[in-house]
Amino acid sequence: MEGHQRNLYLYERFNARVVGVSRDDVTTLKYWGDGLGVTFPLLSNVTGFLGTYFQIQPEGKPIFGRRTVIIDKTGIIRYVRDGSPEFKDILLFLKKLNQEGGKQ
């Protein structure tokens, strides 16, 4: 999340917004986000339906796996990558999407 925060000014440049999703409750997320200094929205999804929707909810586990998803302006998922975010890859992809016509 720190990496996304560092790159916020570049996401702005590419007309993109970032949102974090976690199964932690709102209070835990607030403390966690404040501790790191994260200013973008963090969504609390305690029931985990977003994890099921994005197919990143390991069966029987109370946490999500790590997945980065880029959704364009029309709602189409254009990029999916598991594990730690590849920030340079993400930025290059967003730049390309932005050049395509501000679709994201």
């Binding site: 720190e2 990496g3 925060q5 560092r6 000014y9 570049l10 440049r13 501790g35 790191l36 200094g37 994260v38 200013t39 730690s84 340079k88 930025l91 290059l92 730049k95």
Partner: protein, 202 residues
Amino acid sequence: MKEKGLMILCAALVVIWVSGCATMEPKKPVPYKLTSQGTVIWEDEFEFMPPPPGWKLLRPEEGGDINFGFMRSDLGGFPSTTTFAYDEEPFGCTAASFEGREKEFFKRFLFNAILNFQVLDRKEVQVVGGEGLQVDVEGKDPVRGEKVRARVIFGKRGDRIIGFYITQWRPMDGTYDTAAFDIFDKFVKSFKFLKKSFYETL
């Protein structure tokens, strides 16, 4: 005779296996080259004065907290080691000022060691051709009987804050080796960016 034949066969198999390993493992290209001035050019992006022989190169295989660095084991047994590194993304993310980043950084620096840090010195410095901030700290763990002395230098590359740091671990009654800090200072002083960073080219 049968035993001798078997031994020859075994030896041949070992040779085939070993040579097979040698051919299967492609030689990894090194990410640096040496210049005639004694500096190192790292991935055609950075140039710096390397430490003298005896220091091992640190290079994360994938991701990690540093870009690259050097370490050595010191006399005195565990935990006596010295490590220094260049870090393109030091801990912290919101502060634009060095002082703000310093506060964020030290929330996470050596976090797992659970140390009580004391700031020994803080001063403005010149680094990579611009303004910077140098902070010297000492952390102690009275329970495990260990201590660490560290120097962190924040500088800028384009709009982003970068960092250099050295840590030197010792047993609580151990003596620090200040010569290692001089080697680190030489490394930092000699450090140059040979091209714009990825972020500056976006």
